[in-house]
Symmetry: D2
Subunit: 443 residues, 4 copies
């Protein structure tokens, strides 16, 4: 897809019906005037904010495609006094999940007067009888301090459950809106669920808040928890540097998250001064040969007596042999590039007769399980607010996003159509190359 | 100014002349294809990315106004081998200044091969003989770790100096480009300087990196250091809450930065759960009367036995009498709203016979002097990169900005034309009202 | 008192009676053998562990004085199944109070099976009807996470209440043991209370855990929360240095806690590199004259263009005029040495024609309200364990202490007989003089 | 060795000769009077500060054994103007090494006027020509900020070098005193070195500062860096808890440092609320059987659906088969108990049909490479001061220690004679058992 080449139909959000009920926020909304920082509910946020994209559309004689802006509506679809909401959290941990749960619960209660909010436990398992997890009632009181803890108060799990069973549960509990906090696998399952709900004629809004510690989902600019995550990763890189400097021919090898997208590796490396090599999934590299990674690394060791290598877990998968299978979420299992590199670096240095003192860092769980920092707390909160406004107005099969610095509604199918990756030709990677001084040739 | 109502001429950036020199980065740039994350140098970034703004322009039959995108150019104006750059930091401290200095120095050296980089000390004073400050030569080595320290390695000062003397100094030292890190007063002085330079026919690029801990400069979305600042502020609010809860009828009163814009107060309050009243310059409030602040505060104290009040330093200025003068930067001196509220709360509670245990927090200097957090480090760095690219391509009288999530060039006159404020009708303030539960009536 | 010159009677701890009940911990204790790290309950911990002190006693033909070691006893005084315990927290905040409350509650429950634990709110006020504070029942569940918060879950207040009323309350509620967390004023009130209890023939153990953020209570080595406090103070000194370096002739003036003892000022200054002058109550100094503080400070400003001054709140009280009264705890109110110095430095520099950019830091409440760090958490916990063991064995009118690296029992009257101060001739102050390079002459 | 059973000869420190030179600190020392916090240089610090130990000695008619107190002497052995000092750091990283280097350099320079201070790089390798490491000259300027970094500015290595070669180097460079920062292997090598020096009749003081992140060296109470280390470890335990709670039947398994002594595991577990099982080298445990660890763990998983296990690296070595060899420092290589437990837990749960979601944490390098916290900074500094005073007064073959809360001189042979371990019958382990609630039976 070239920029601006998308059609409007991919950006249009499904709704459950016409909004006829006056929002409790209507009075406040009357006072608001459109400004550079407030988009009216009848307006649209351009998909591509460049002049060139605009000209393409003008040549075609059509309006440029736009996202629907997020935010409260004057009229809403659900009657707050009769609304029952559900929340579920799926997949791996990420800083900020508890902030989202809290933000949803408080806005439903205080913003709309919806007091029946249910938390389903351990992901989609929470809807099916066979796992026997309890359903929690969420109140402003029991969520008030959860944001001070990492993890998720609802628990999580990987993988999905039968959509019909989930629909049965929602129907049985008279849930009107389901908030799904998860990544692309979770969103895919939510689309299936929504199809079942539609077939049954159930007016249940399914709204997602995209969760991805790798920052690899499109149209969300930066996913919640990402800043906290790369801040923590920065610590390990700093520590790897201290270890590398301390030993003769010391190497600090840091494996970070990033299955398909190397954002954490790039940002964490840019935040300090310490990384000398950054390897990400988007930029293939050679191990061997005179311009290969091993030779370049050894050259630096010999010249500078130490080096720090940062590798995203999805990097260099083509260099490792054999099938790896899939995990419960349906994600392809990755080869362990950290252990692989560790071994290959050892072998290479031994063969070359170069002393090596390598220290291996794998801080993954120590990163994703921490509480959100101040920025991610605020951001998670505001995503939650947008999700509640969307659901109350009857939007469904969509996730909240952030585009051109505005909160927007993104259809689920669009959100998972392609992945957000580090552009090997873009500014970010160029900054990494400059900061590390790593050569381009082996890439 | 309504959204989209601006004319293109206000967004056009001045240049020193035609770019005829091949950039050292040209090879890398050839490979780059425009994408949703990369804007070509010939393209424009829309000033207003809403459909409604676009329609207004279409009705007028004109192109919508655009910012020039930031980034490296294939051809540049200055010959790197002969280029001499200057850097100056002005005004109050802000996390990230050292990251900007470091980013400028490294990109000039490694990106373009410009090795003559000079640091002028203590703001504009550094250019004038009478203050006798030394000029520092900045090298990749002596800036390599400065980002680990708060403050600015160059020192700073408030106020400006005679533009002719500054121009003399630049001419004498054969400086080709000056990077100015400062707020609106600093930018105003830079415009004056640029006029003198233009009159003298000197081809010196003057490029700014907007510094404002209050986040009150337009077209930069979030100013560097802002996230670090409100994170620190969040600590004081949390501590004020611990103190307030501990004493019978305890009140924690926290004065935060924010002369004209209450962003720090709003974000810091949203990041935790602890603030009950947030007072900002943009939203006037009454002290007295049954719906006034004092009565509302006392009501909460009586009902809940504790309260936390967050006040931005510029709030409630209309409530205090007398002239206050101006500081060396030409900013109007503010009345001390913290001490004022402290006294008035005491008086009011005494008059009402209500016990009061008030603890006053004024963490200002403890906030602005810390090193940048990981995000602000990366962001400061990338702003610095954009500034170098702009200067090398002969842009002048401009600051780097960030708009619609893209780095852009913003004319200095536009950047200071109006202030970025919290919109009392916007999402942010609505979130604050929701989070605190503070009543609207006294506002 | 010279070292070792104390008499044993001052170290002897009061008991409520003979211990006849087998402790639930008896089985575990049977296995324990005395070692360098375990002192048997029948043993004593030397008051003075030097050879010279020993020789003095040998010359006198008496045993050297010893503290009773803390720890569980094989036989205890109270029957756990019938025991009801009370906890009260008094005076200013200090990191670790919640850890102590939690440690007491958990050890009473899990160590002894005492499930009736009551928390009295807002200090001694919590015992008297007129204040109407509720009494909380403390359980392992409701204290389980309180250590993650600063402050005290029970609230606190300054000042005491009528000892007879307190005794009435304890009698009415059938409390057998009262744990008092507070400073010297609190301990003084506890002695009075104990006298009333003794007169009434009530077998109620009154055991204290000394709380003093200033670290000024004897026989506790380092008071709980002290390490957390000076760590936080170190941040402000670092920040003051960043501010001082940034401005021409910048001075960072940091007022820290320390009414009578300058420990926080000394330790916080030693932890970094940034303080140039440290002023503490124990070391008088002159302001004026050629060797005075003002002249020394100005000399440094002129030579180095910046300086950092750390002043404990009780320093230089003799330099300020007028009476200052007493606070509710009976402590003499201090003159505000921070504001005083700020003004005098300004005046002096103005008179001398020296430019001055002074930034004033007063982080007091931001220091004492934070949660305990890891060390203080463990230490607070272990103090609480010792306090429970002491109370269960019928000890009373005592506080837990730490002496010669061992937990010991200290009679309340001894604990408040003299203050723990920085010895102007000792190692600590010598280290400060060396680290700052401040001259001795003006002191 | 029973408490107090040691003979004085083991505590006596070797000296190079009579002190005839007036110390630059003599004037300051004249003013000092012995107090509870200052021990005169002619005094002694009791080895055992209990009354029972004293009685044993009295019965024997001998003085109780004492350590020589540390601190400056009025007369010193070396002439400062002619003194040349060396510093070397050996073994694994530990927070605070840079503080020690800095403290040594500053005290030598400012306290005694010794300006020739040399840093030998990468441990004992730094003395031998074959490794070719440069010798650094250390000055107050180049050490001034090193304490802000983790690691060691001198680099380190494991293993020793030929004592004669080291002695050659010291002789060649006319070094008068060598400061050795390292653990038991390093101290052992220093003893050998000292023998060679003595044979050659070289008057070179060899003084150690014990470094052990495991806190397993006797007579130092707490080794420098230990508090920082267990604080960091506390973070991983907290994170493991977040992960464990999030997954159905989640287990967080955290491997921490502790080859022979489980102090880090114990303290880190006590600082939070999160560990359910703590396994240390000092307390053997069974894996299998109805009371074994695996069964106990599974029981908790089934009952509570989550568990956190903390294991010191040296725990359970008897449970793993095969030889493991020795590392370059001569330490026995340990079997990897973390991976072993991970596998056995998986196998056991699979065999029992219990779902298991285990997350493994191995934060070792992320712990030992961080900068010292405020307390450890001060403490490292004061140890360095004591070491300099000792060396200047001609003490040799000794390390600085801390005993009965006083800095003392400890002969190297004594320091390594036995290890400091967690006493399974002592207070610390009892607190751990209470805090975790782990049953005793499987131990």
């Amino acid at each position: 897809m070239g920029p601006g080449m998308i059609q409007q139909e991919f950006l249009d959000v499904k709704t459950l019906g016409i909004c006829r009920i006056a929002s409790p926020m209507a009075a406040m909304l009357e006072q608001r005037a459109p400004s550079l920082h407030y988009v009216d509910e009848t307006d649209g946020v351009l998909f591509d904010s460049t002049l060139s994209a605009l000209r393409v559309r003008q040549a075609e004689g059509v309006d440029p495609p736009t996202f629907e802006p997020a935010g409260p509506r004057k009229k809403i679809f659900f009657d707050p006094s009769k609304t029952r909401a559900g929340i579920v959290t799926c997949g791996g941990l990420c800083p900020g999940i508890n902030d989202v749960i809290r933000g949803l619960t408080l806005t439903l209660n205080y913003g709309y007067g919806v007091s029946k909010v249910f938390g389903f436990c351990h992901g989609y398992r929470g809807f099916t009888a066979k796992h026997g997890h309890p359903v929690l009632e969420l109140t402003p009181k029991n969520v008030s301090a959860i944001n001070e803890k990492g993890g998720t108060m609802l628990g999580t799990s990987r993988g999905s459950e039968d959509s019909n069973e989930i629909a049965d549960c929602l129907e049985r509990m008279s849930i009107n809106m389901l908030f799904v906090i998860g990544g692309d696998g979770t969103i895919r399952a939510a689309i299936e669920l929504n199809e079942v709900l539609a077939e049954r004629g159930l007016k249940i809004a399914v709204v997602g808040i995209p969760k991805t510690i790798d920052n690899d989902i499109m149209y969300i600019e930066q996913s919640f928890g990402f800043q906290t995550a790369f801040s923590e990763a920065t610590r390990s890189i700093r520590n790897a540097h201290a270890e590398a400097k301390a030993s003769p021919n010391g190497v600090g090898l840091v494996k970070l998250m990033g299955r398909h997208s190397g954002f954490i590796a790039c940002y964490a490396s840019l935040a300090g001064n310490d990384a000398n090599f950054v390897l990400i999934p988007e930029v293939p590299f050679q191990l061997d040969g005179p311009q290969g990674f091993l030779s370049s690394l050894r050259k630096r060791i010999v010249e500078r007596q130490h080096a720090v290598v940062v590798v995203a877990e999805g990097a260099g998968q083509d260099l490792m042999e054999g099938a790896s299978g899939r995990d419960a979420s349906g994600n392809k299992k990755l080869h362990d590039v950290g252990s692989f590199l560790k071994q290959r670096i050892h072998e290479y240095c031994q063969a070359e007769g170069t002393e090596l003192n390598l220290k291996y860092f794998d801080p993954s769980y120590d990163i994703r399980s921490v509480p959100a920092n101040a920025y991610d707390s605020v951001y998670s909160n505001r995503l939650a607010h947008s999700a509640v406004h969307a659901a109350m107005s009857g939007r469904t099969e969509m996730v909240v996003g952030r585009w051109n610095s505005r909160f927007v509604h993104v259809p689920m199918r669009l959100a998972i159509r392609e992945r957000y990756c580090v552009d090997p030709n873009g500014d970010l990677w160029m900054s990494v190359l400059e900061a590390t001084g790593q050569s381009l040739q082996y890439c």
